[in-house]
Amino acid sequence: MVYENPDGIRIGLEVHVQLNKLNTKLFCGCSTDYHDSEPNTHVCPICLGLPGSLPVLNERAVEFAIKIGLALNCSIVEQTQFHRKNYYYPDLPKNFQTTQYDYPIAAEGKIIIEGEDGEHNVGITRAHIEEDPARLQHMGTIDKSKGTLINYNRSGMTLIEIVSEPDMRSPKEARRYLEKLRSILDYLGVFDGDLEGAMKADANVSVFWGERVEIKNISSFKGVERALLYEIMRQKNQIRRGGEIVMETRHFDEARGVTISMRTKEDEQDYRYFPEPDLVPMRVADWVPKVRETLPELPDAKRARFMEEYSLGETHARALTTEIKVANFFEEVAKKVDPKDAAVWVSDILKGELNYRELSIDAFTVEDMVAVVELVTANKITEKSAVDVIRTVLDDGGKPQEIVEKKGLLKVEDDIVATAVDEAIAENPEAVADYLGGKEKSLNFIVGKVMQKTKGRADAREAREKVLAKLNE
């Protein structure tokens, strides 16, 4: 099946990723560990842009950027080159941003996503390194603000801007692209996606192969999908009414779910790019083979291996390989129990319970997962009880074995069930007669009695089989 893309939709994304796993900022020695700190405590003359301060390039940031470039199948530039992007804004301590221009660290790569018609390639135009501005905090709402406070803790953090080709054909593909990108970055260990400001996206979209419109400042994956859905609808309506689409930049109003025009092409700023005189080019071509060696197994390769090595289906393999921590967790569990059981319990049950509680996989131990799977597969507790155990561990703590005992979840012994079956049949001759006379539903009544007698600890299916066997003797 080939996706026809009936509305001629082209979507490209520019994603800003903050490399918050680096120890220091891009051009100074300030710590990046500011997220829980007081404002303006992780600053120095360089990231404050004080007169006379000079930038020094963080080599590890360059290494991370090369790693990202390689993971996105890009070619890597021979030597680094930085430019100044000149514009005035209160969050910029120097009123220019040091960034990369015509020689980005990485270019011409691709990401494979799960597209509308199966595997779909999204081209990566470029990935470049730049510094994060400070954070502005308005005192009150933006239009009625009495003043603005500037927190420079974020100033000078390393950003990687990853620009895609307009290869996505629906908002869903755009979301899939973002998820895939996040998954790859997660594997590389270059950022913690859960921290504030870790990943931001700008989107550009056109319909009927027409002019593209840029949408700025979208803060979440869901936001991207919503903004695109709205914008595509707006453009189609505009054309249907005989209007034209002009090249412009629009802002996404998250609260109202609409895009609002910010500026047209004509008032686009002239950034007066020129090479940053304070940074000399750094030759990185020789680093590439070494960095390539440090690349981990990436999501696509891992998924294929899971399907092959553990005989998992595509859905399970995909779900288990999105996050590196989950993949590692699964593999640890799969060492101890049947991998297929491990896949079901980790992917279908545990992940759901974690998501519901907004917890990461760190909230559950491999040891506990193995214990739960073993209890179920050894037929000692029912599946329902196993879910109960997982929930209890997450909500109240404790070890599975203890919880099973404390709650009395162990399945009752076979002879107790057998006794209950005998009793139920003996005590309900009418129901037995009805069933034998052809009333199928009467069987449920008898099974229900068995369950009552065993206080629900018997497996319902097992009880049913036993009643049937007895009646058919």
């Binding site: 007169p51 209160p90 020129f274 005189p277 304070d278």
Partner: protein, 475 residues
């Protein structure tokens, strides 16, 4: 005014009395100054001198007073680039050179006047008013490090630091009859030097004699990881203090004796070259054909970089701040009120040169010319050891004479800017007079071959007496 004393003389005085007494006597001299060379005095100077005495500090500059240009960051001491926009700014950190000087035991007396943001050749555009030339108080001391040169010439301090973007150390050295060195780009860390045009400028010392220049270089030069353009290379500058130019091959670029050169300046420089011949050197004329384009290239690059470097002065974090109903209005007004005419002119021209549609025509072209100018130097210095030329085509002009004619001011830099474009080192030494005003001889060397030009300058000094003449009131 006090008599000129060199570093060794000061060390003797300290040995005879104390660093505190020496510092106090300089402070007293400065108190009577008529030239407006200092902008801010450091009130801790006397305490530092006292500490050096009590510690028995043994650093190479223990107790030696020094003056620092207004654009070099000094922790706890106002650093304003002689601009209104930086009024009230006190750096929370020391420039690399200041750290080195403090370690060496130097006593920073205060900050010296300059053209606002180092943009000028006369020190007239300072927010603190003009500095006067000690040789003739109706004349400018040169610029932009006019304060640093004038206070040395006036005997108010033995040595000082300036900065040289397009001649800002060498021009005032020549105009004030002192020695000034512009080191090779990358030789001295720029960390803490407030940028005017980063790709061109270097901090440089000024003194009454070549030996003191070498002594200061031994302290302030050297690698600093905080400046990416700093070069890791060991050198002892005082090793070059030898009276020996036997076999030295001098190149004399014809283009540096062009139209508009003062006859007496020309004669003084040729006399100096003859003197070198007498001392055992040989000379040949060399051609540097792209010199005539250097000035245009220099100003485009310098102004382009400046337009970006000076963008940070917006009143948000430090310095002067105007009132305004929102940030953009506040920042615009701050800049409108805080910058002087010449600074605004250069920011506007630089902004224009970098603009879409003009970027290739001006900025890129200027970079290409810069490469050609650099190739001129490479070629010329392939056959000779050093180049010699007038530092300035004419002696110091009258205060107010050129301030309203920026183009004629820019033209005065014709012999100094090519050196910054090429990044090579150059020293200006006194070589005679035009009337009562000193003339400077510029000795230019190969990249990182400071020792060749220091040696030539030192030998010249040993065999002449130009440097022993004092301004009338200092003598």
């Amino acid at each position: 005014m006090a008599a000129w004393t060199d570093i060794s003389g000061i060390k003797q005085k300290i040995a005879d009395s104390s660093a505190e007494e020496v510092t106090a006597s300089y402070i007293e001299t400065i108190g009577k100054s008529k030239i407006n060379g200092f902008t801010t005095m450091w009130d801790e100077a006397i305490n530092v001198a006292r500490e050096i005495d009590s510690e028995g500090h043994e650093g190479p500059l223990a107790g030696v007073p020094i003056a620092i240009k207004e654009n070099i960051s000094t922790k706890g001491l106002s650093t304003t680039c002689s601009s209104k926009i930086l009024q009230g700014y006190v750096p929370p950190y020391d420039a690399h050179v200041i750290e080195r000087l403090r370690e060496a035991g130097a006593v920073i007396l205060g900050k010296t006047n300059m053209d606002e943001f180092a943009m000028g050749t006369s020190t007239e555009s300072s927010y603190y008013g003009p500095t006067l030339n000690p040789w003739d108080m109706d004349r400018v001391p040169g610029g932009s490090s006019g304060g640093s040169a004038a206070v040395v010439a006036a005997g108010e301090v033995p040595v000082s630091l300036g900065s040289d973007t397009g001649g800002s150390v060498r021009c005032p050295a020549a105009y004030c009859g002192v020695v000034g060195l512009k080191p090779t780009y990358g030789c001295i860390s720029r960390y803490g030097l407030i940028s005017y045009a980063n790709s061109l400028e270097q901090i440089g010392p000024l003194a009454t004699n070549v030996a003191d220049i070498a002594t200061i270089m031994d302290v302030v030069a050297g690698y600093d990881s905080r400046d990416s353009t700093s070069i890791n290379r060991e050198n002892t500058y005082s090793d070059a203090l030898k009276d020996d130019v036997n076999g030295l091959k001098i190149g004399v670029p014809e283009e540096y004796f062009g139209e508009g050169i003062d006859e007496k300046v020309e004669k003084a420089v040729w006399d100096a070259i003859s003197k070198f011949e007498d001392m055992g050197a040989t000379y040949e004329k060399v051609s540097m054909p792209h010199t005539k384009y250097a000035l245009a290239s220099y100003y485009i690059i310098a102004m382009s970089e400046a337009s970006s470097n000076l963008a940070r002065f917006d009143g948000t974090r430090y310095g002067y701040r105007a009132e305004g109903e929102n940030w953009h209005v506040m920042a615009s007004r701050t800049r409108a009120q805080g910058f002087g005419e010449e600074v605004k002119r250069r920011i506007l021209l630089g902004t224009y040169a970098l603009s879409a549609g003009y970027h290739d025509k001006y900025y890129l072209k200027a970079l290409k010319v810069r490469t050609l100018v650099k190739q001129d130097f490479d070629r010329a210095l392939d056959n000779v050891d050093v180049l010699m030329a007038p530092t300035m085509p004419a002696p110091a002009f009258k205060i107010g004479e050129k301030i309203d004619d920026p183009l004629s001011l820019y033209l005065a830099d014709v012999n100094t800017v090519p050196i910054n474009l090429a990044g090579v080192p150059s020293i200006s030494v006194p070589c005679g007079f035009s009337g009562d005003m000193p003339v400077g001889l510029q000795i230019i060397g190969k990249h990182f071959d400071e020792n060749a030009i220091i040696k030539a300058a030192y030998s010249f000094e040993q065999n002449t007496d130009h440097h022993t003449r004092r301004p009338p009131e200092v003598a």
